[in-house]
Structures are given as structure tokens and as C-alpha cells.
Symmetry: D2
Subunit: 392 residues, 4 copies
């Protein structure tokens, strides 16, 4: 039956995460100064701290050393972690590792599990997901995939260029999507494979991802048959396994970001005066605050609904599109309004907001631009009614 | 724990309501032609039909002859009923009776219960809630109440003008909010009281309410002490008892209206061609459809969350404001986009949409304009942070 | 050189129109009660009055008895006339006659001029423009035209169904767009032609057009060769001649409507109190007012720019699309916000706003839905850049 | 009479600026890499180049070596210059010097003119305008001014902290707004005054301003009487002299930025394919492009109208508020949509868009946040109607 209760154990865990973020993550923010992604040393230090607090890997299976939360529990905890951009890094629930761990946990064979998943889940290595390509390759439309993998004796040779590969620099391995004669296929490629080359780090507005966003080249990249993840030709299906939950965890973490931004703005509105009143007494400011509260609460509800659907074992594509399309836009609006409330402080480095805007802006594009999700939502709605009509 | 499941019994009831709306309510729409509100004869006929279907009074307590659903069950069923403007009338879950029944069930003393609540719940009489006043009286701001009730020997005399009193024409009694020396107080006033006068029916864009919206006069209106509902001076507190759930049922019914409008537009988009494509294949139309789906799904979630909070016995003022502010705006957007998708058909009488727009437009004003709710949401957010700050 | 001055003569004329609207048109509004369009008797009376004031036919050529204003002068005067829905009717600058007069003035041969244009311009007869068709015929996409005209001995026979033909009831003649072997062609069809049949009046949200919106049938409708307007096969080109200015005059009149709505709301905000302040002192109300002022001022500028381009003898399709897309949406927002500011009064018949909303809503669809214009604007922008790229 | 023509000479000049931007400014963008504002060397080099092209100081009076354009001419040329962030720097029409030159040209006495204005207009020194203060001082509300200037023998001593003082680092002098017993007063303070101290450069999202945004301290800062700009106590009035045109030139330059962003996105939409079509053929992309065209065209019209009003010698406060409120929001929407159209490329350093978003975001706050202008617009509208009402 419809229920919005967070049970006691989960509520206690969330409370603990709130404390961790307040006492550990936020104070560390001032030390996060690298330009293209979080400093690895700081990340390691924070992860150690999270282990001490018992908060490492909330969404990772217990047998891999995580807390083994279901999707709803993950939703609650990841939102709390996202209140600082360092929270998800510390708690090892950040993209892209989080999505890769989830997918490998479902698909990897025992040997791959041992070799890649175990150290990844433990935070000993990092990973990247090499899917998107520069034009005219696969971007929002995965069917435009140009990277090829061709069979050679005892294995495969991969050739292609990948773009915006988050965390590639410093990753221990890449999961590479390539086209074979049997269809799209995923390959596990070690970072020290001589055919795997990091071309450059791409400048981007966000910089919370260790390893940044990279352009990488697979050039006569030879891998053996054991490198195939799952079954040949099933790459796009596996991508779906990864995508729905990975999209959702993005929503969860960034919802935490939105709360941070709004709280900052509200505190300012409670203090700062203008035109003879506190900012928070001005109707236009109140409107911005209220609209942000609405954006946050509707976002949380869409996330929870999708998490619940995933917990029922459903693919939840529709719920995932709804959540992604709504939350990405909502989060951006919240951060933007928070800046506007704070005025010049908002766009300055004296407040966290300007940086947060740069962190959240790409979310309207990552994991499928808003427009792609709207398209999917509309087509489903059109199809459902057409089916109803022909059924009746 | 977080749950979006509608359990089997409730799902079956909803299915039954869907059938009732399709087979009884929608076919009757063509006969609903009165200008200022639903024809009483048609209403009676539809209510009889709903009784036969076992769907009368879903939200009314079982001891009063209803189905006794809790707030969540009510949310699900009233949304389904709202798919036709005649659905809530037929099922006796329309405003203002629905809210009055709820309030009387909580507050009325045994005698009042017998005299007013029992026939009202049974659909034998109608009622009205006489609260709002013309300028400079109580509108969005109830504290501006001008209607007075003064003690006389053995009772009270009420004087004042009320405005936009829904359903007053034809009502068996009015619940009148008036100011006494002890504060705002509610009085039960029989419609045949010589001091109660119906001045006129106010033209309004909506016309789904039997009895329309009226201007009524309380002029030397004498009532005895038994006419006081609850305790003298507690009127505003009782209004809150009525308001949160009454607001929510408005949201529920009108969400059903939004679904109706969107379905109509989608069906049109699946059929009509322009520029060499089905309308539904045009990106701009798809965007409108997807945004409407998002509006509907986020609205449902906000309603469910508030209903759940009410079921926990909480006053749920915050959840109620969130739901009202979001749903009223969302529903209007959905109906408006549906019209736009349908083009000239949309604004014509050949489609139900133009009428539906006129039905839903007032909802952004009734039960507190959107801006009033945004104000309440913002003030609560500001207060909560201020309290956090001073606590830490 | 860039100039926003309204010269003295025009300013004086506008002032005179303001007076006329205030003293003649607005007081007559209470008498405008017909359901499907303005009462013909009232229209005649108002037109006589406008003649007395020297304000009849501001946009009509002087040789046809009008004031002969250019497009910019027309823009200024029609905006002023639109402050009352009766203004354009009184001053004979309302659709569809206004657009038909303009087109006939450009295209009609001397005989057609005498027979149709002269009495039409003088207000002795009315006309209609029979272009749009019910699905699956020509709606937003004119290329879907289904009405046929085939040559017969000495003339043509027209067959087809037309829909949403404004002013058809009571019109002296129709300009009918039909498909011939040589392409779309316009025909002048007398209303008493036995092959011209009025099927019904279509209910629509607006009711300011005399004759309403009708469904008409051309059934073996025989006309002689003299009925061809201009050249056979040039119908779509002529429609463009009519459309750009006709669209613009729609924008102008409805901009006046928006001003009326905003003024009403501002007056209310200056008087009505809530929460201890005048409405106009509340920030959320101020925001709505300011956004409406911006909508009105940007709309006027887009109209003036298009009018100026037309005065340069340019077809001004781009400017016309910009103006139509912007103004139609802006005007609707202004009226909607005005209602919201006024609360329950706004959606009641005690204020003119609810009716105005129903008047302006169709404007986002008439003369090409907003989406069609956005499409045209985008394609032009894409084409222009592509041309630049290939040129450089 | 209403006119949107750009006369031949001005059109030729604009064409020349377009060439300059394309051939000089845009190619130099890759060399603009300093973090807190444009490199001074690069600026000098570009200004030399602009002098060679005859494009230096378009808005500066001819007797000061500029082109002496009026406000409308300036509007046209500054918009063209803004197509590259380096354009206004090269052509010496960037903030804050541009506004300071204008104000000094109106107010400075002959000696101040010689000492400050002549070298400033020539580009030999830079200046800053020290008005805004950190909380609780003067931000959006100038009346909260805390910086004091007190009379001492033969002069004044200034004390106060200023914040977000653009271009302070490297400026030759500051114009400081301080409170005296006679009211707010402006003082010319040499940068080498020992009482003028640069505290730090404030990190901000934009970095196109040489000298960045600084926090500066006036600490027992002694100046003589000749340092008073204009009359003591007239500071706020002079600020208005500066503000209306300075706001407008901001609008003009940033409108150029918006055009650049949109052109980039359109070019991408003409090339990049997804889902079997060019991006530019997708309806949702077309909608974004069209809305951006509308934003740009309405912005230009609002700018032109204000420039025209200023050319008539009017203070144009209303027109200036309208332009600022509309253009700042519109420009941000355009850049944001351009990013969205370009997907991951848009938020990457491979495209100029991510940087442009950071450049334009502050514009919604600088020179009065949008909300402050909306407030001013609303109050004027309310006042005007109240005056009408009491007059009639």
C-alpha cells in the first residue's frame, strides 16, 4: 500500500550520513582544488574515513563489502550523501564506478568478478565506461556506434574513438562498447593494454569526477575472449541494465546538491536585508524558495517511485525516464534560483553555488539529454493509448 | 517503507470506477447543459446509478453509508472519478458536500449529526460552506472576516455578506463562518431561515457545481445555541480540519480531469496528420505530451504523499500546500497543452477541452491561490532553517 | 534611423480612439450578450457611432472611405481599438473583413471591386474566408486542402467542406480556397448561391465575431469565371498576401485586450488588501504585473517592427511569424496573470477577465498555431546559417 | 515615425565590426587564458588593432578620440562587438570604463577631465567604480551604503569596504561612492592613494573583465576637495546618469554573446545527426532555436527602444529597467538552450558555450538583479494607474 515512511533503521542511517557529510565531507571541500576532477589522494583519505563511519558502499552488495541497500534505501542515502559533492566520492557511491559495480555484479562471470569487480567494489581501483563517441559517432543516439570489435584468433581487436569517458584517467580498466558482427558488445579492457590510449582530458564545467572526462582511443586494441562481458551482441541490453539504476543514482546525488544550494540561499535570505526587509520577507524571494521546495519534493517522489519499481524487479524504464527528465531540470532550477537569491555572493567563489551550477548543468545532458527522455515518455504515452484504442 | 503499490482490492475498485465513468458518467455529459451548475435531476439520476454500482460515497464513513476509504484510497478513487466532471457528482465525492461531510463527521454533536450530516451523507440534501466574502472582506486572507455573530438571548444573530458560496442555491443548509467576541465561529444555518438570503448566482467559468457559486446575505439571521458547530471561537481551527483534506480531494478529482484532457489530445495526435506526419510524430507535440505526463505523475505523487500523511493522523499542512500549489498549476498546464495539440478542435465545442479549461482555471484560485500556498511553503522553509541554525 | 516616435497626428488619432473606446465601446459591452458572436444590430449601431467620430476603417484605403493608414499607423490605432472587444467591430477593423478588404484591394478586378469590395469596405455587407477544413483536410497545414474546383462550361463547380469559417453566418459572400488542376485557387461565392450551405455554428470559446465560426458546405456549387479572384492556381500566394497583415492586425487588437486585462488587475491591486497590505505591495503580485508589462512592451515592439517591414513593401514573413508567435503567447499570459491577481473576482462574470481569457485563448491557434510559427522561425534560422556557411 | 532602419553609414560600420570580430577578436580568444580577467597585454594589443581598424571607442565623444555614436548607433555597434567577449575590450566599449567615461564626460570639471577622463578615454589607464559593498552594506539596495566620507581640513577622509569592484586591480583610479553628511557623494581616488587598498580578487564565474572583481578597502583614505565628482550629496543622482546607459551597453554586448551562442548551436544542428535526422530537423531542437530567435529579437527591440529614448534626452529609467530585466534573462536562456542543443560538446571546453554561460550568468545580478527591475517596473505601473484613477 502507498507509503512514504522511511523505516527506523534507514532513518538512522540517513542521520548518520548527514553527520558524516557535515563533519567530514563539507569541511574537506576547501581542499578540493584540482581543475579536472577530484584529487585522488583526497578521495582515498575520505573513503577511509567513510569506512570508519560504516558508510562505505551503501548500494554495494554485502558480499562485496557494501551495505547492500535496496534501491529505495539507496535513494534515501545517496540523496543525503550528495549534500556535499565529496559525499558520494567518500562513500563510494559516485558515478561511474557505482554503475559499473552494479552492472558487473549482474553480468560478470566468476573470473571477471574476481579480477575486476572485487577490487573495484573495495575502492582499490577505479573504472570507466567507454560508450559515447565524438560526432558522427554515438552520442545521445547509441545506435550510431562507430567503434568496431572484430574477431581475431583467440580474441578481438577493438578500434574506435571514445569521448567524454568519465574517470578514464587513472582508471584500472574500461568497459568498452563496440560493434561486432553480432551487434553491440561490451569488453573489459585493462588500462595498461597498449591499444588503449588516453588522448586528453576534456575541459568540462563539472570537476567532481576523479579522472575528469577524457577522450580515449582504442587502436588495434587486442583483448582475449575472456574480455567479453556477458554475451556477444547483447551490449545494448546490458547498457539498459546499467542505465536505469545509474541514472537514478545520478538523480539522487544531485538532489542532495539541490538541497545544499537551497539551504544556503535560505540561510542567506534569513540574514541579509535589502529594501528595509530581510530578503526572506520579499515576495519574489519567497516565490523562488517555494518553487525550489516544490522542485525538490516532486523530484524526491519521482526518484522514490522509480526506486520502488526497480525493487519490484521491473526494468522501470518509464519511471527512470520520468525521474531523469524531471530531476535534472528541477535540480538546475533550484541551484539557479539559489544563486539569484544570493546576488553577487551567489556567483562568487565565496559561496558554493557558482561551482554547484557548473556541476549540475551537465546533468541535463548526461545519461540522455532531457529532450531524449521527453521523447521516450511521449512515444510510450502515444503507444499506450494506441494500444488501448485497438484493444477496445 | 516507501511503497507505490495499490493493493488488489483498491485496484479492483478503481477499475470499477473506470468502468462506471466510461459507461455512465461520460455518456451523460452531453445532457449536462445547464449554465450555472449541474442540473439537479441529472445529479440525482447519476447518484442512483452510482449506488447501484456500489460506488456511492467512497470517502464517506461506512456508518454513514459510504465506502469508508482512508485518504490514500480516496486519492486513488477520486482521481478515477474525476475523469468525467460528472463522476464526482454521481459518486457523491464532489465539493463542497464532500468537505462538509468530512468536517461534520469530525465536529458535529449527535443532534447536528442526525439533523444535518446523515441526510447530507446520504445525498438527500446538499450543503454549502459560507466562508469567503466580497472585498474588503475575507478572500485569500481569512483574517479579514467581516461577517459578525452576536449573542442574543438563547442564541445568536448573524450579519454579513458572503460571496462565491458554492452550491448555495438549492442547499439544505449553510455552514457559516462568522466573527464573535470569542473569535471566528461556525454556525449551521438552515436554508429556510428568513435571515438567510440568496442574492444572486455569480457567473463563473466553471459550471460543474450544482447550485453554482452564489452571493448570499445573512441579515439579522437568528439561530439558537445548538447551531454552533463545535466550540465558539474555534472556527479557524475547524476550517483547517476541513481544508487540508478538501484541498486534496480537489487535487484528486482535477487530476482525473487532466488525464481526460491528455488522453483526448493523445488520441488526436495518434490520428490527425499535418506536414506529412501524424501530429504525434512531431517533436513539438511530443514535448507537450511528455511535459503533461510529467505534470500528471508528479501531481499524483504529491497527492499520495499528502494522503499518506493524513492517514498517519498528521495535519499535513505542508504536504497539503505542496500538493495544492503543484497540482493546480500542473492540471491547468495539462489541459492547456491538450487544447494546443488539438488546434481549432481544441477550442471548439466538438471537443471537451475548452470546457475543461474553464472548469480547471478557478482551481488555481479556489482553496487559496497558488501564490498563497507558495508563500506558506516559503515561510515554513525559512522558519525551519532558522530553527536549525539557532539549535546548532 | 531607429525611431519609436508616434508622430503628432497619429498620436492625436490614437487619443481619439482611446476616448471612443472609453465612451462608446466599453459602455456597450454590457449589451453584448449573444452566445455565438456579436449581435448584428449592436454592431451596426456602433459602426454608425464610429463614423460620426471619424474613426471608421482606419486601415481601409481612403478611396474606399477609410482613413488610409499605413501598417504602422494601423498598428497603433488597432491596438487602441482592441482595448474593448467591441472597438474593432465598431471601427470596422476586425477579422475577417479587415483581412478580406486588404486582399481584395490588392487582387480584385474592377468588377469584383465594385460588387464585393466597395460594399464590404463600407460595412454594408460582411464576408468570410473559407479556407480551413475539418480533418483530414487543411488545418495548420494548408497543403492538405481537399476542397475541389473543377472546370465546367463557362465556369467552375466547387465541392468541399469548410470548418471554422469565421463570420459565415450572415456574410454576403465567401472567399473560398479550392484545389484546381492548376493549383489552389480563390473563388468569390455569393452567400445565396444554392451550392453554398451553412451547416452549423461551431461552439467556440470566443464570441466576439459576428456570425461566429461555422461549418459550411460547398456542394455542386457553381460559379462563373468571373468568380475567380486573381489568377487560377495562385491561391496560396494570395493567401500570403492576406496572411501577414491579417495576422498582424490580430496581434494589434489582442494586444489592446491584454492592456485592458492588465489595467483591470492593476486597479484591483491598488485597491484590494490582503495580509495587511494592498495586493500591489505583495512581491508575488508585483512580479506578475512586471512580467505582464514586459510581455506587452515586447509584443508592441515585435508588432511595430513587422508593420515597419510591411510598410517598406517587404513580405515580412519572418517578422510576421516572430510577432504572431510572441504576441499570441504573451497576450494569453497577460490575461491569465490578470485573473490570478484578481482571485475569485477574476474568474467571475463580475470582471471582464474570464471572458477575455476565452477570447484570447484561440489566438494561439488561429492563423497558424504557435508551434507552426516556431517551426518556420527555426527553419529560416537554420537555412540562413547554412547559406552563410556555404557562402564563406 | 516608427522606424527600424539602420542607415547606410551605421550599417557599414556594423559590417566593419563584424569583420573585425571575425578576423581579430575571435582568433585571439584561444590566447585569453587568465583566470580572473583578461590579460592586460592581450587587451593592449587588441586595442591597438581596433585603432588601426578605426573602431576604437565607438561610444566615446569625438573630442575624446572616439567615434561619437549616439545611443542607437552604440546599440547597434556594441551588439556586434559582443559577438566575441574580446570585442568590447578591443574596441574600448567594455564595462566598467565605458560607463565611467560616459559619466565623467557629463560631470567632471575641466581639471578632472584632463587628469582622469582623457587618459581613460584613450585607453592609457583603466578605472573602476567602487559602489557595492559586502553585507550588510549596499548591494541591490544602494540606500544601505555604509562607506563614509567625512570632511577634514582641505578635503575628506573615506572609510569603508567595497566588494565586487570590477577592474580594480590595475585600475589607475576609482570612483568611490561614500556617504557624507550631505548625502551620497562620488570621489575620484587615485589607485596609489595609500588609503586605497586592494584586498583580494573575488573568484567569479565570469572572467572577461581585466582586473577581475575585487574587494577593496578605503582606510583613512584622504583626498582633497578637488576629488569630489560634481556636487557633494548628489551621488545617487549621478549614479543614475551612469546606470541607465551602462546597463544598456551591458545588454548590447551580451546580446552579441547570445547571437554567438545561438549561431554555434545552429551550425551544430545543421551538421550533427541523431536518430536518423539532422539535429536541426528534430522538433524539440527547432523549438529551442525558435525560442532563442524570439529572445534575441525581442531583446534587440527593447534595447533599441531604450537607446532611442536616451537619444531624446530622456532619463529612460522605465525603458532601461524593461531592457535590463528582459535582456539579462533572455540572453541566459539563449546560451543555456545553445548548450542543450550541443549536448556534451556544449558543456565542454571544445565549444565556447560553457564559458559563455559563466560569462552571462552574473548579468542577471549585475546592475540590479532582475527582481529589482521587475519591482521597479511594477511599482511604476501601479503608480501610473493610480494617478490615472485620481486624475479622472
Amino acid at each position: 500500500m502507498i507509503d512514504f515512511e522511511i523505516d527506523g533503521e534507514l532513518a538512522a542511517l540517513r542521520h548518520r550520513v548527514d553527520e558524516f557529510v557535515r563533519e567530514v565531507a563539507i569541511p574537506a571541500e576547501a581542499r578540493d582544488s584540482s581543475e579536472h576532477g577530484l584529487d585522488e589522494g583526497l578521495r582515498t583519505e575520505l573513503q577511509d574515513e567513510a569506512r570508519k563511519w560504516g558508510l562505505f558502499g551503501p548500494q554495494i552488495s554485502a558480499d562485496l563489502g557494501g551495505l547492500g541497500l535496496d534501491h529505495r534505501g539507496t535513494a534515501v542515502i545517496l540523496e543525503a550523501s550528495g549534500y556535499s559533492v565529496l559525499g558520494p566520492q567518500a562513500m563510494h557511491c559516485a558515478a561511474p564506478d557505482e554503475g559499473n559495480i552494479h552492472m558487473l555484479d549482474v553480468i560478470a562471470d566468476p573470473e571477471q568478478r574476481e579480477r575486476y569487480l572485487v577490487p573495484l567494489a573495495a575502492g582499490r581501483i577505479r573504472s570507466c565506461f567507454a560508450m559515447t563517441e565524438p560526432a558522427p559517432g554515438a552520442g545521445a543516439d547509441p545506435s550510431m556506434l562507430l567503434t568496431r570489435a572484430d574477431r581475431i584468433d583467440g580474441g578481438w581487436v577493438i578500434d574506435g574513438r571514445k569521448w567524454f569517458i568519465t574517470g578514464a584517467e587513472g582508471a584500472g580498466f574500461a568497459i568498452c562498447m563496440a560493434l561486432t558482427d553480432e551487434g553491440a558488445t561490451m569488453f573489459l579492457v585493462d588500462a595498461d593494454n597498449p591499444g588503449f590510449r588516453l588522448e586528453r582530458t576534456i575541459e568540462a564545467t563539472d570537476r567532481a569526477f576523479p579522472g575528469g572526462h577524457c577522450e580515449v582511443l582504442f587502436e588495434e586494441c587486442r583483448v582475449d575472449d575472456a574480455a567479453v562481458l556477458g554475451t556477444v551482441g547483447e551490449g545494448f541490453r546490458y547498457a539498459q541494465v546499467r542505465l536505469a539504476p545509474a541514472r537514478l543514482t545520478h538523480c539522487e546525488r544531485w538532489l542532495g546538491t539541490a538541497r545544499r544550494a537551497l539551504d544556503f540561499a535560505i540561510d542567506r535570505a534569513n540574514e541579509r536585508e535589502a529594501f528595509g526587509q530581510k530578503l526572506g520577507e520579499l515576495g519574489m524571494v519567497q516565490r523562488m524558495i517555494a518553487e525550489s521546495v516544490l522542485d525538490i519534493e516532486t523530484s524526491q517522489a519521482m526518484i522514490w517511485r522509480c526506486a520502488w519499481a526497480l525493487d519490484q524487479g521491473r526494468p522501470a524504464r518509464h519511471e527512470s525516464s520520468l525521474a531523469k527528465a524531471h530531476v535534472a531540470e528541477a535540480v538546475n532550477r533550484v541551484v539557479d534560483r539559489s544563486i539569484q537569491i544570493c546576488g553577487a555572493l551567489g556567483i562568487s567563489g565565496d559561496a558554493p553555488l557558482a561551482r554547484l551550477l557548473n556541476e549540475v548543468r551537465p546533468f541535463r545532458i548526461y545519461d540522455g539529454p532531457t529532450e531524449t527522455h521527453l521523447w521516450a515518455i511521449a512515444r510510450r504515452a502515444l503507444r499506450d493509448r494506441a494500444a488501448d484504442a485497438s484493444a477496445s
